[in-house]
């Protein structure tokens, strides 16, 4: 009984195209997910970086504000102190020397050195002007008839520019006037709007740094805080100081270039036209992100604009994203290849399994067939041989026909077994020296009986030293096939020429018959498996269709081949070409293409 082996469950098998499509889809999904993950992560990284930056910038702003406020507070103190000193001495008694002493004390430890000047002005009425000029010995300018004058009386340091400033009526200039009036009204130290200082009057007005003045009023009889209604009346003068915010900010060293921070400060009195007070060296007005904070400085609004010096940080998250992208692509490709590979392997395993089952089936069937075929042969032989009594002529004829038919069966079974073995890679060439002439003659001897039965003469020709490398069994099989075909398809009483010739490193065995011949249209399929051509003799002669197929495969495994030339009604010449030397002596006969 033939038992069919059950195929193992091979899992992911099936249409290769389907598998490929599925693999692509999976790979794309993996890539998409990876990209998404990269985007999310790199974005959160970016946001983290940004919030870090924001935090730092806030800290910088706080630091800068702190600096400004503390400096301005110290200026207020200085002016209050000056006013206090004047009250103590009394204005009439105050001298330049005392003023200087006060300021020197202030400046101890190198403080307030950025101030252009720290001074004092007398507020003088029109009536008092001429006597004031005489008493103090200074010329008030600009000349002109005005209600009140706020005359610079003392100014420290006493350098050339400051000396020139003595006598200047600060009320005559609107910015100063406004600041002084505001100070009087509030009784607080008040900052002016930015202007170009007198000290900078000789400098290029377009590039000069703006200055700011701070005023603090002092009153008659040392009164500190007269009620508003009386203040104007009791006003004696102002202590004041001048500084360039630029110079002040230059002294700040916590925040700046070192930590990649750039900033500028503007006075925001006119929101449409802010006045620049300080701009750090590399401040970039077109920077990506500028943080602003409006600072209240002594009643004025100073806008602080700050940005971080770009140093390629923002690109960090882009790099991260692309790294993730590339990694995802890599993984996706890897997964795709793994899937394809696995499915390929599974497919291969499956196909090998199928092939093996087919081979086993073929071999099994062939072996099983041999037994009854052998049995039939024996019984027919017994009949023919008269073991069971003599046969009539007709009986003998039928028995003979049955015997011949059975021989065909056995031939076919032999060939099937060979096909099965070769498919299973079980047929190896055993290379040895083969005497072609002798082999050919032996084959012809085997078939002599069949040939003479049809009145056919087989003539063998060839050189005596026709020795080549080859597997004798298989060369014999090839020659048997060629000779038996020649006899089968020859017309009776014709000749078959079997010739051996050498052309360089190739040996050629030609078998020429004068038989039915082969139509050109059939030539192409001649060597295919199970190919049998319809010709007048094919029904009579029978055949499995495996002979030429096998013969060709055996020839190919020797590195040679079988070719054919034929004409219908004339005959055919089959030529076996085979290399005389075989390099690879371990050839397996391949029956699959």
């Amino acid at each position: 009984m033939i038992q069919l082996k059950k195929l193992k469950n091979v899992g992911l098998r099936g249409d290769t195209q389907l598998v490929q499509r599925a693999s692509i889809i999976i790979a794309i999904v993996v890539f998409a997910l990876g990209t998404l993950a990269s985007a999310v992560y790199s974005n959160s990284y970016r946001m983290e970086q940004e919030s870090e930056l924001s935090k730092r910038e806030s800290q910088q702003i706080i630091a800068l504000n702190g600096f400004i406020q503390s400096r301005v507070a110290s200026y207020r103190q200085a002016l209050r102190g000056a006013a206090g000193m004047i009250n103590v001495y009394g204005r009439e008694n105050l001298t330049q020397t005392q003023w200087n002493q006060y300021v020197e004390t202030l400046r101890a430890g190198n403080r307030f050195t950025e101030l252009l000047g720290i001074g004092m002005s007398d507020v003088v009425s029109r009536q008092q002007l001429s006597s004031y000029q005489v008493t103090e010995g200074i010329q008030v300018y600009p000349t002109g008839d005005r209600q009140l004058y706020s005359v610079i009386r003392y100014l420290f340091p006493q350098n050339e520019a400051n000396q020139k400033a003595l006598g200047f009526d600060m009320y005559s200039e609107s910015t100063r006037r406004q600041a002084m009036d505001a100070a009087l009204e509030t009784n607080l130290a008040t900052l002016s709007a930015p202007l170009i200082s007198v000290q900078d009057s000789t400098v290029d007005q377009n590039t000069a740094q703006k200055s700011v003045l701070m005023y603090f009023p002092f009153y008659q009889n040392g009164e500190i805080s007269p009620p508003l209604a009386e203040r104007k009346q009791k006003l004696v003068g102002y202590t004041y100081l001048v500084f360039r915010p630029h110079d002040v900010m230059e002294q700040q060293d916590t925040v700046g270039e070192d930590n990649n921070i750039e900033y500028k400060i503007e006075d925001l009195a006119d929101r449409k036209n802010p006045i620049g007070l300080y701009t750090s060296k590399n401040f970039n007005p077109n920077a990506g992100k500028i943080v602003t904070q409006d600072l209240g400085v002594n009643g004025r609004t100073w806008r602080l604009s700050l940005h971080t010096q770009q140093s390629g940080q923002p690109l960090g998250y882009i790099v991260l994203f692309f790294a993730g992208l590339i990694a995802s692509a890599g993984i996706a490709v890897l997964i795709y290849m793994l899937l394809i590979n696995r499915s390929k392997r599974v497919q291969e395993e499956y196909e090998t399994e199928i092939q093996k089952t087919k081979d086993d089936l073929l071999a099994l069937a062939s072996h099983q067939l041999r037994t009854p075929a052998t049995g039939v042969r024996q019984y027919l032989s017994m009949l023919e041989g008269g073991y069971f009594g003599p046969l009539t002529e007709d009986q003998a004829s039928i028995a003979k026909k049955a015997f011949i038919a059975n021989e065909r069966q056995l031939e076919i079974i032999d060939q099937l077994l060979y096909v099965a073995k070769a498919d299973a890679g079980q047929i190896h060439l055993i290379i040895d020296s083969v005497d072609l002439l002798k082999t050919l003659q032996d084959v012809v001897d085997v078939y002599r009986h069949q040939a003479s039965a049809k009145g056919i003469e087989v003539v063998v020709r060839g050189p005596k030293k026709a020795v080549i490398d080859g597997d004798e069994r298989f060369i014999t099989m090839i020659l048997e096939n060629l000779i038996s075909n020649a006899i089968k398809y020859s017309n009776p009483h014709t000749k078959i020429m079997a010739t051996i010739a050498f052309k360089g490193m190739t040996a050629q065995v030609s078998v020429k018959d004068n038989g039915v011949g082969i139509d050109e249209s059939n030539l192409a399929d001649l060597f295919q498996k199970f190919q049998r051509i319809q010709n007048p003799l094919s029904r009579q002669e029978g055949g499995s269709g495996l002979g030429l197929f096998l013969a060709q495969k055996l020839a190919l495994s020797h590195g040679g081949s079988i070719s054919v030339k034929s004409a219908v009604g004339v005959g055919s010449t089959f030529t076996l070409s085979i290399p005389t030397r075989i390099k690879n002596k371990d050839n397996v006969v391949q029956l699959t293409d």
Partner: protein, 120 residues
């Protein structure tokens, strides 16, 4: 005197066919259906020649050859459809006298070979 042939063959078709031929040719035929049966019966049968198939259940031909102590030097013809050169070589080394391919043998050839082997 009739010569005795011990025919060791598991397939009924062939066992029947060959024993018919042998009987017609005047031999006495004893049958065994596998190697084990052959071993058990050989002392009682005392054949002049053994025809031994290779592919058999329970105990195959090669096993039989290994286990059989051929003290009387009985000729053994291995009679099989296996035709690999290695198999042929092996059985000859294991003590077979000769090898015959079952499928292509004719009764006449079979008798010729048996006669020749018994003579030898």
């Amino acid at each position: 005197m009739k010569k005795t042939v011990l025919l060791v063959e598991d397939e009924a078709i062939l066992s029947d066919a060959f024993s018919t031929i042998l009987k017609k040719e005047g031999y006495h035929v004893e049958l065994a259906f596998n190697g084990e049966e052959a071993l058990n019966r050989i002392t009682s049968v005392q054949p002049d020649i053994i025809l031994l198939d290779l592919l058999m259940p329970v105990m195959d031909g090669k096993e039989f050859l290994k286990k059989f102590q051929n003290t009387s030097n009985t000729p053994i013809i291995v009679f099989s459809n296996l035709d690999a050169k290695d198999d042929i070589k092996e059985v000859l080394e294991l003590g077979a006298t000769r090898f015959m391919l079952k499928a292509w043998a004719t009764p006449q050839e079979l008798i010729k070979v048996i006669d020749a082997s018994i003579e030898a």
